[in-house]
Symmetry: C2
């Protein structure tokens, strides 16, 4: 031992000290600078520190640090309507010249006339018709290109910028903070899985294989002599409400230890997460900031937060008051 120690030259010791001090500086840097120092931020940091502290009963091995995030209203804006709905309406308008019959047939007529009441009156059957006309009948690669092209030009109507820039800066920091602590971050959304996968890696740092969502059926077939996957006009899976724990089990096969949502569609995901052993973290984003973003909850058509808010309050889940708890809403410089 003595020999080994004496063989360590002064310069090596310097290197070690420099490395250690770098670690210390990093630990002291605020991992969530866009969050005010209110209860939610403290609760997040306390949870992460607990589950990552080796040798304690709360320690969770890295491979079990699964965190699931809803997308609409949790990571990006869902008002004045779900982004995917805006995509669907735009696509009907774009395809209309090839479908003269849409001028007189609901729900298409309603979309073209801007008469959303007429669209809503067609109910689920109408929605499935719209989905089939806009989301099916092409290969998965073609659909990916359609989504990418649309997102490159479409704008959020209030903020006048691409939807992919209407993401919440505090949540981006939270995703990065969890990953820095060896969490695997997943999206678990009611939105279409193939509507999200083309851009989640660039925008959130979440790769396609960590995106769980609703899906339509696809079929392997030969197209011009080449194998391809065609999108069929048939719903395969709805990843919302009771569907979220089902989707998590199906895709991930492990129960999350942390789950983040903002609406009643996330309630079962949070319940499922809460029920596991050991430390658990459940959080809801409450949209309370009409000035910087939107204020809505129990009465909203999109992202209604009612029963889940009651349950969160009753069970002590963390509720983010956007106005009070977030220093900024959107990424700076946009």
């Amino acid at each position: 031992m003595a020999k080994a120690r004496s063989a360590l030259p002064r310069s090596c010791i310097c290197i070690v000290f420099t490395a250690l001090s770098l670690v210390c500086v990093q630990a002291q840097t605020d991992p969530l600078p866009s969050w005010n120092d209110t209860a939610p931020k403290k609760a997040i940091i306390a949870f992460v520190e607990k589950v990552t502290k080796e040798g304690t009963p709360n320690f969770v091995p890295a491979d079990q640090r699964i965190a699931t995030f809803d997308n609409d209203g949790t990571l990006w804006v869902e008002q004045p309507m779900y982004v995917q709905l805006a995509f669907m309406l735009d696509r009907v308008k774009q395809l209309a010249p090839k479908h003269p019959e849409w001028k007189t047939t609901q729900p298409f007529k309603g979309v073209l006339d801007g008469d959303m009441k007429a669209v809503a009156a067609t109910g689920e059957r109408g929605l499935v018709q719209l989905m089939a006309a806009t989301h099916a009948g092409m290969t998965v690669d073609q659909f990916q290109k359609i989504v990418t092209d649309w997102l490159a030009t479409a704008q959020q109507p209030r903020f006048k910028r691409p939807y992919t820039q209407c993401v919440y800066q505090p949540m981006l920091e939270l995703l990065a903070y969890l990953r820095a602590n060896n969490f695997k971050t997943y999206i678990v959304s009611g939105g279409g899985v193939e509507f999200m996968r083309p851009w989640t890696e660039e925008v959130y740092g979440i790769p396609p294989e960590q995106v769980v969502g609703s899906s339509i059926k696809t079929k392997f077939e030969m197209v011009d002599g080449k194998p391809d996957l065609m999108r069929l006009p048939e719903i395969d899976f709805i990843d919302d409400k009771e569907g979220k724990p089902v989707g998590i089990n199906q895709y991930i096969g492990r129960r999350p230890i942390a789950a983040f949502g903002n609406s009643d569609g996330d309630q079962q995901m949070l319940e499922w997460t809460a029920e596991g052993d050991g430390q658990r973290f459940m959080l809801l984003v409450h949209h309370t900031d009409a000035k910087r973003e939107y204020a809505y909850d129990r009465e909203s058509s999109f992202g209604r937060l009612d029963k889940a808010l009651d349950e969160a309050n009753a069970r002590g889940w963390t509720v983010v008051d956007m106005k009070k708890d977030w220093k900024v809403v959107f990424p700076p410089g946009i």
Copy 2:
């Protein structure tokens, strides 16, 4: 520059050289010691070296290095019958005392009498009945325990040891070699996803979230006041043949650059993999070794290899001749 260089002490230079020589030693170690130096091994190594060489046209970024592996007959033994079928038959026998009616009702009577012809005569309907009786009606956690308990005691009939020890050593080395080169390794199997997930991490180093397989439906519900996922007696998805590219797209959302199988059930997965841009690697394990394992192909009931073998030969995919190309079949010391 000169100043910076003179500031580098001799000991640091030593450290750098030591590190470099460690890297060299590692590069010279054979990553596939159980493979003979025949064409398949050379083809695997050539492919991996090509796609990992930065600055060349063949380079593939790490996040796109997706490799998919069939399980039955590719990673573990599938003779004299699929392991999951053995599990199902054992489970019928175990549950029989609670179901006296099975003594006189097919396909259960056939299973209890060891009359597989009678079972086969009940066709797909019979198989679904067996699946429903043995794989459904419990929570996902309960099923996981049933599988784990069974695997802990069941033995492969010829090799007289647990099924999880009847895995192919050369394939374990291949999985490790790919992961060492930043590939993400997935199982894509016709077997039940929840039959595999409890043990793939320990046996193959593949975590549950990287296992794609066939599934039955599950339902979120309250059991004794607690949220749980119940397994329903209804097929959700068959991850075989045309289903494999569908499953890959559904779960992973990216096309693999390398795919490994052993039967006609893998043909479409290999076709789908082959069709992507850039370097691709497709491999079939051909069971040619009756002495050390089993020899079967075009006429086998389990893992039939017929059309896929013709396509592999026609298109120059790599075919492993188990007898000729593998030094050992099973892990040493078992």
